[in-house]
Symmetry: C2
Subunit: 108 residues, 2 copies
DNA sequence: ACTTACGGTAAGCCATGGCTTACGGAAATG
DNA sequence: CATTTCCGTAAGCCATGGCTTACCGTAAGT
């Protein structure tokens, strides 16, 4: 149920912006914070949560830590969504079929 | 930015359970509430949010309303994730390459 | 028409969590 | 060794939102 954590992470707008920033390549905390309307500690806390969810990873580089996207968490999320996708289409198809010829089904 | 609403919706555990319940087929509110540890009004409120996010839709059937999964919201979410997927792999690949031969890059 | 079943809405309570400021620690630089 | 830079953590404030109970509208059954 790791996709739950991933979903909870990406639900926050600020965390999404951080995540999208990292999409264009690895970056240290300060650089990420620059360009966001929140303080640097806030970004640090967000990155911690993102890391615990398996969505990012980090690597020390001198006095700074470079963060980058980790495909693991993203993969689980994708798998969960895909598993949903087919069932959703099936259910929706049944629904359409039940809705259109409805006039002849309820009270002939 | 509709995927933001969809993510916020699916971030809630109860809402996920409702959504997963609907995956096995359309169901009225009462049936969904039965089997969940929350009250029926709570389920009603959740379904309202899910509907506003384009994740579910409903159809009146006598005195009850049948809810079913709407592929629209799910599709947007999927598109957003996919757009992320390739970039994530790319970034991660660069990261791996930057990490392994690191000893020879920093201080020769 | 009366009753029953079903579900949406309102008001209110309370926990969760995101943000800030302040502090402390580690690594490069001189 | 001193200084500067960069980052993580702690404490605290406050808004958000999820849940409950209570109420009302609507549709079917008798």
């Amino acid at each position: 149920m790791a996709y739950g954590n991933a979903l909870a992470c990406l639900a926050d707008p600020t965390r999404r912006r951080i995540f999208e920033r990292l999409r264009s390549g690895p970056a240290p905390v300060g650089i990420v914070a620059r360009g966001l309307p929140v303080s640097r500690p806030a970004v640090s806390q967000h990155l911690k949560v993102l890391k615990e969810a398996g969505l990012v990873n980090d690597r020390p580089e001198g006095t700074r830590r470079v963060y980058y996207i980790d495909p693991d968490g993203l993969g689980e999320l994708r798998a969960w969504l895909d598993q949903f996708w087919t069932a959703a289409l099936e259910s929706f198809k049944q629904e359409i079929e039940a809705e259109a010829p409805n006039r002849a089904r309820r009270k002939p």
